[in-house]
Every structure is written in C-alpha cells, then in structure tokens.
C-alpha cells in the first residue's frame, strides 16, 4: 500500500453524515467536528442562515429585501438561500467597469436571475456616473478597493431607498468578518470596531443593512454553490490580488488549520462579549451627520464622500 494511503489510522471510524448517518459524505467541517452528506449540508446552510436572521432580527415579516450581488459565490449563494427561505428578495448588481471581470460577473448574475425568474436591479458606474473603478483609483492615487467599497456602499443604500426596499443584505461571510475584525484590532480602530455589526439599523437616510452569512465560512458558501449547481465567478477580482484583506484571511486560515473553530470563536466572541464596548464611538459619529447638498445622502462632511469622488474622477 502506498505511503500516502496509509495516513488514515486503522482505528479511525469511517465518516458518516452527522445528521442522517449516511456514509456518503461530501464535506467535513472541522469547526463543527462534523461531516455531512449533500442534502444534510444544504440543510445545515439553510438552518444557519435562518437562525442568524431570526436571532439577530435581520428581516421582519413583510420586509422587501435587496441583496447586493457581484456574481461571486457568497452573494449568489445568499440570494439563492433567501429565495429558498421564502423572502421577498430582489438582486442589485453594480457594474464597476473592471474589464473582463465585470463583463463575466454581470453575465453570471443575469443568468442566475433569469433561471429563477428573479428581479435584478442594475446600476452601471461608467454609464450612470461617467467613471470606472480603475479610473477612480488612478485619479485618487489610492488602491482600487478604496473607491470600489465607497461606491458600492453609497449605491447599495441609494438603490434601496429609490426602490422602496426595507433592508439591504450583503454576502459577507464568517471569514470576511473575521478578517475585517483582525485588521480593526491590529489598528485598534475604535470607530470601525463600533460599526462592525451584522445588523446596522435603519436611520434617517439609511436603510437597514444585514449580513445573514456571518455564521457560514467561505468554504461552506463555495460548497453550497458547487452542490446546488450555482455557476459563480471563481476568479478573484484582479484588483483584490495581494490586498491586506486577503493577507489577513491567509493568516487566520493558518491558525484555523491548527486550531479548528478559531475564526468563529474570534468573531462570534467579539459580537457576544466585546462589540458593545465600542458602541459609544459610533453614536457620537452618528450625531454629527448632515445632508449632502449634491445627492441628499447623510454625511459627516460638507459633501458626501461618493459625490466628492465623482467630482474628482470626472473633472480630472
């Protein structure tokens, strides 16, 4: 027998599905010390999302939900899960003008929506605002992710307000949130720590924002898409390659491999025992909001950051 085949100790039992005890398992989740067959894994994903929405009061009965979709595994998986759980949910896709990546992600998103007869709202930065993300990065001399994140946050909120939606849902998963928390803690950034919550309540000028995937890792979301046949964009955004966020994820995965459950303990422990310690900083910032004279959005400055970006990029 090959050396590499001998690695499973003979006294270790064969894996069985934790829920139904079937021997045909497709995934092991070391964090839960469990393996699952296909159907029970999909049940696990639905149950985690349903429980998160309910316990964290993310979506109320009758709410209209707008899910922000990029064509990737998390957002398309979330849309599929929310539709399956019976929510009134439409998709929002923002064309960022990032070459082939934007073209392919737009196609994947439209195909997903068409296959489910779901409503997709589209905003296109180049067409609707006269700039793209590479151009914004060049004009501002900052990394592309900076202009991208700023634009998406503004446009998610605007599209939800314009369309009469009650809540915006995004596909941030456990790994995303743990990596953001890791970065915020490294800098002890009190403002960001105060705002890092899976539910941001509605306030004047802002719709409620929720992250129903915070109990599912990105490996689980990729597995959900593969097992349900969701054709998502696997290739990473070319602008994200090498960014700090990915470095934090690699560091956390190295810890997770040695100590399964570390990421969940880090992030969910923060929510349970530490996030309230930073809430005062958030409240102080909210009290200083005024209205952007250009677009009407709430802002702490004279003009909101998105309108400032549009002016800078389209004038230069």
């Amino acid at each position: 027998m090959s050396e590499r085949l001998r690695e499973r100790p003979s006294n270790r039992p064969m894996r069985k599905c934790r829920r139904c005890r079937a021997p045909e398992v497709v995934i092991e989740l070391r964090r839960h010390n469990a393996s699952f067959c296909r159907d029970c894994f999909l049940h696990h994903c639905r149950e985690q999302v349903s429980r998160t929405i309910e316990e964290m009061r993310m979506i109320a009965p009758g709410d209209r939900v707008l899910v922000a979709v990029s064509g990737g595994k998390d957002s398309l998986g979330l849309w599929d899960l929310l539709l399956g759980l019976g929510y009134d949910v439409d998709g929002l896709y923002i064309g960022l003008g990032i070459g082939d990546y934007s073209r392919e992600s737009g196609e994947a998103t439209r195909a997903f929506a068409a296959a489910r007869s779901a409503t997709l709202v589209e905003v296109d930065l180049p067409t609707d605002y006269g700039f793209d993300i590479p151009g914004a990065a060049s004009a501002t001399h900052r990394v592309p992710c900076s202009a991208c994140g700023l634009s998406k946050r503004h446009l998610f909120n605007k599209a939800a307000l314009d369309g009469g939606y009650d809540v915006v849902a995004t596909g941030h998963n456990l790994d995303d949130e743990a990596a953001v928390l890791f970065g915020n803690v490294l800098r002890w950034d009190r403002d960001y720590l105060g705002r890092q919550r899976p539910v941001l309540p509605a306030s004047p000028g802002f719709v409620r924002k929720v992250k129903p995937l915070v109990r599912l890792g990105e490996r689980e979301m990729a597995a959900y898409c593969v097992l349900t046949g969701i054709d998502y964009i696997v290739e990473e955004c070319p602008n994200a390659v090498g960014n700090k966020h990915l470095g934090y994820k690699e560091a956390l995965n190295a810890i997770e491999e040695q100590s399964p459950g570390s990421k969940a303990a880090f992030y969910l422990g923060f929510l349970a025992r530490a996030s309230d310690l930073f809430a005062d900083d958030t409240a102080a910032a909210a009290s200083e909001l005024r209205t952007c004279p250009s677009c009407g959005s709430p802002t702490t400055a004279e003009v909101c950051a998105f309108c400032k970006l549009v002016t800078r990029v389209t004038v230069t």
């Binding site: 690695e7 497709v26 490996r219 979301m221 990473e236 602008n239 995965n253 491999e257």
Partner: protein, 66 residues
C-alpha cells in the same frame, strides 16, 4: 491523475493512488482555503484518488472592498 488548479490556471499530472489530504499537503495547500471537486461533487480529506481520476482544487478565498 489530472489535477486542475487556479490562480494561475494550470494542470498537473500526479501519480495515484493517494488521499485528498495527502495530495493537498504535497502541494502545500491549506485545506481550509480550498474545495476538492471530483466530477460534479465534492470529496472529503480521506477520499481515495486513483490514477484515472480528474479533480479540481478550487480556491474559496475571495476578498475586495467590504
């Protein structure tokens, strides 16, 4: 067996038989950061892979602006 990888896309020929965990370790890949796909389904770490198999090692990490 044929092993497809991404970022960058490439294909390797690797001798079997082996197990998924051993394959990932030989390639220096953290098992928390990938799925291993055989046909249209997933395989777990202790699954046996033979010479005739074709598998994809798909990265699951993504991340841009939040």
């Amino acid at each position: 067996m044929k092993v497809r990888l991404r970022n960058p896309r490439r294909e390797l020929d690797i001798a079997g038989p082996t197990r998924v965990d051993a394959l990932l370790r030989d390639l220096g890949i953290n098992r928390e950061s990938v799925l291993v796909i055989k046909g249209d389904t997933l395989v777990t770490g202790d699954a046996r892979l033979d010479d005739a198999d074709e598998v994809e090692i798909r990265p699951v990490i993504s991340g841009g602006a939040t």
